[in-house]
């Protein structure tokens, strides 16, 4: 099967490419990529038996995006999402590789669950699924899980996401042990004793709504601890979903000191504040919680100066009934795969990031952290790419989501720019 993508503006940070040109795909791999001069663009190309020609004039062609932080909910919570529906939502959102977190049921803390996920993904998944294994058994934070065996079975990184590893001793051991297998430890940094019972950011709003708050310090204290342990052990630390100004400052400090730490944030942390909780909107209930304008500015600055390496979605789908209840009892999470690109493009529109920088955060950087050959358009790589129309008007309508999770605080938002076609291992989704 031969596919030609013509005259799109190709951006591939891994090769330093940014220009108009063509990409030729054959049998699910990238056969050729050619940046054209102005005269060459005018000439139409020979057909040489292509099965499909895609005209990408005026559109942007990117390597398929990588989402390092997704909850696919299978096994155990299929009523919220399945590997099939979640990966379909991913490709709709422009992602061709996703890493799924282990807080399933049973927890992915052993090779058989890893094997199940991989098998399901290869049978029903619409994109590449790389499982993230649990750091500790049952994610209880007490005993290390079989990291080596799980890596062999296919786990690409390890995290107890959903929970922090409260014990500094266990976190230390995890960072040390991980060095034998060259895998990153992804930290969900939260001091449970400070955040206990909290459901939104601690501030004036939590007081006037009568909701228990989670102080920014609950995140910062653990980030600092994790950074110090990473420095002590030399292990590879990746900090998940950072949300506060203080967190950005700590990571900046750590990187200056040469600590092996990387960090990610999510679109909601640079798009909306705690105001979104007004009226007890459970779709704005997320952990870490939405913060303040000041934090948004700091996150944007962190993205701009490279302190924050990755934009991931922390896609957390939930069933409608679960969110339509008392704020205290509703589960945390935002269904983010289908809004990520549109929200992230706003960073380019307002001048916070260049298009190239944005693409890096969603392709090259996650690929480097995970040490995978994805997120690039090199000849011979899998044909994973996404075509984005940066001028297309896009209104967020959760009932049009492909994901089972319709829980988004961005309902009705009108933005410009959205993926229009995704190619995953040569298969076209539009």
């Amino acid at each position: 099967m031969r596919i030609l993508i013509q005259n799109g503006h190709i951006i591939d940070p891994s090769q330093g490419i940014s220009g108009t040109g063509d990409i030729l795909i054959e049998d699910g791999k990238i056969k050729d990529i050619k940046i054209k001069s102005r005269e060459q663009i005018q000439k139409t190309r020979d057909n040489d038996h292509t099965d499909r020609i895609i005209d990408a004039k005026g559109l942007i062609v990117l390597p398929g995006l990588i989402d390092m932080h997704v909850h696919l909910r299978e096994p155990g919570f299929e009523y919220k999402e399945t590997i099939s529906s979640g990966t379909l939502a991913a490709v709709k959102g422009g992602f061709t590789t996703v890493c799924c977190m282990p807080n399933t049921f049973p927890v992915n803390d052993n090779a058989s669950v890893t094997e199940f996920i991989k098998r399901k993904a290869s049978q029903e998944g619409h994109c590449t699924v790389l499982p993230i294994g649990a750091i500790t058994k049952g994610q209880k934070g007490e005993e290390l899980a079989e990291i080596g065996t799980m890596k062999k079975e296919g786990c690409i990184a390890f995290s107890d996401d959903g929970h922090p590893v409260m014990s500094s001793l266990i976190m230390r051991r995890a960072l040390e042990y991980s060095k034998a297998f060259g895998v990153p430890i992804i930290s969900h940094s939260e001091d449970l004793t400070l955040s206990e019972g909290g459901v939104m950011n601690e501030g004036l709003m939590s007081v006037t709504l009568g909701l228990k708050g989670i102080p920014a310090e609950a995140e910062q204290i653990m980030i600092f601890r994790d950074i110090l342990l990473a420095e002590l052990t030399g292990g590879r630390l990746h900090i998940a979903h950072i949300s506060t100004e203080g967190s950005v400052n700590l990571i900046r400090y750590a990187k200056k000191r040469g600590v092996h730490v990387t960090a990610e944030t999510c679109p909601h942390y640079f798009s909306i504040t705690e105001e979104a909780v007004s009226g007890y909107n459970t779709n704005a209930k997320v952990n870490p919680p939405l913060r303040t304008k000041r934090d948004i500015e700091a996150i944007k600055e962190g993205l701009r100066d490279g302190t924050i390496d990755v934009i991931a979605t922390d896609h957390a789908p939930h069933h409608r009934d679960e969110k339509m209840r008392e704020f205290d009892m509703a589960p945390f999470g935002i269904s983010g795969l289908e809004t990520a690109v549109s929200l992230s493009l706003r960073l380019v529109g307002e001048g916070t990031l260049t298009m190239g920088q944005l693409v890096e955060k969603m392709t090259l950087n996650p690929a480097q952290i995970l040490q995978i050959n994805k997120g690039n358009l090199k000849v011979g790589s899998d044909a994973d790419l996404v075509i984005v129309d940066t001028n297309k008007e896009f209104t967020v309508r959760s009932d049009e989501f492909v994901s089972k999770g319709k829980n988004t605080p961005f309902e009705g938002w009108m933005t410009k720019g959205t993926p229009v076609l995704t190619l995953c291992k040569g298969k076209i989704y539009e």
Binding site: V207, Y280, R325
Partner: protein
């Protein structure tokens, strides 16, 4: 009244608050007579949906509804289908299907009345949600103050005790500020959230400083059931520092009145001599509560859906 529901003081304008207080005056006359009933809301049904234990507030609403000639149903949550796992929304829709015109709800989670108000046609009256608000308490407190002092604008009023966990405190802060009073909060630092100062109140941690020249003292109950963790070392220490004693009361104005939403922990937040003394208006608050709740239901009944 603009809304079919009473969810909180936050959503009311000063005009609406004054309308409720004026109307309550008329109802206070009614409950002072031999025949304490009027046919105003005859044939309507009020349902008390209390997910938290309460005798006095529930009874007050029940009496208020009956005095307006309404039918009243008390939905006893511990014995009901909620224990069998029925969702909150299902319970509310069932209650509405039974013909409720008013649903009076008390729940331990903030925001529950707001959630229900969008799902049912009945008028939702918030009888206390989590640590958010208890609007009818604030209204009856305001009514009591206005009756005793003639006005609220410009008065120096202090709320004393566990502010952080008190929905009564929050509703009172909003209400008294809207009516032009100067509000102070007195209590241990661990029980007064720092950000609350942004609501325009002055915070004191010492009774001796905070009580000077006050017109009204509102004492709050120390809520044993809401706490557990490190807010203050012991009730003894709390009483020593923040209990309203006769000595401390003398720092306020000579005609200052003492209020308490009840039930009182005698000896911990207030001494018996004051609770039973001439400056206390605690029992009148209870009587006024019925008149104010009648006024609320009467006015909400007139809002077109």
């Amino acid at each position: 009244m603009k809304n079919k529901d009473l969810l909180g003081i936050k959503e009311l304008s000063a005009e609406e608050i004054n309308l409720i207080l004026d109307t309550a005056g008329g109802f206070k006359d009614v409950i002072g007579r031999d025949i304490k009933k009027v046919p105003a809301l005859r044939g309507k049904t009020a349902v008390n949906l209390f997910f938290e234990p309460s005798t006095r507030t529930r009874t007050s609403f029940e009496l208020a509804a009956k005095r307006l000639s309404m039918d009243v149903i008390n939905f006893a949550i511990p014995m009901s289908s909620v224990v069998k796992g029925e969702s909150l929304i299902d319970t509310a829709l069932t209650v509405q299907a039974l013909g409720a015109d008013f649903i009076i709800i008390r729940h331990s989670s903030s925001g529950v009345p707001h959630l229900l108000s969008t799902k049912v046609k009945a008028s939702i009256i918030n009888a206390g949600d989590g640590t958010d608000e208890h609007p009818t308490q604030a209204l009856l407190d305001a009514f009591t103050i206005k009756e005793k002092k003639g006005k609220i604008d410009g008065l120096e009023i202090a709320i004393v005790g566990d502010i952080a966990h008190s929905r009564v405190a929050k509703s009172n802060i909003y209400c008294l500020k809207k009516l032009g009073a100067k509000v102070r909060l007195i209590g241990p630092p661990t029980l007064i959230p720092e950000k609350i100062q942004e609501l325009g109140v002055t915070v004191f941690h010492s009774m001796e400083e905070g009580l000077k020249d006050l017109d009204v003292l509102m004492m709050l109950r120390i809520q044993m059931e809401r706490q557990g963790k490190g807010f203050f070392p012991s009730t003894d220490e709390y009483a020593k520092n923040w209990c309203l004693t006769t000595e401390r009361l003398s720092l306020a104005k000579d005609d200052a009145i003492v209020m308490h939403p009840g039930p009182m922990n005698r000896g911990i937040e207030i001494v018996s001599e004051i609770a039973d003394g001439p400056r206390s208006v605690i029992l009148e608050q209870v009587t006024n509560g019925i008149a104010v709740r009648m006024a609320v239901m009467y006015l909400l009944a007139g809002v077109k859906r």
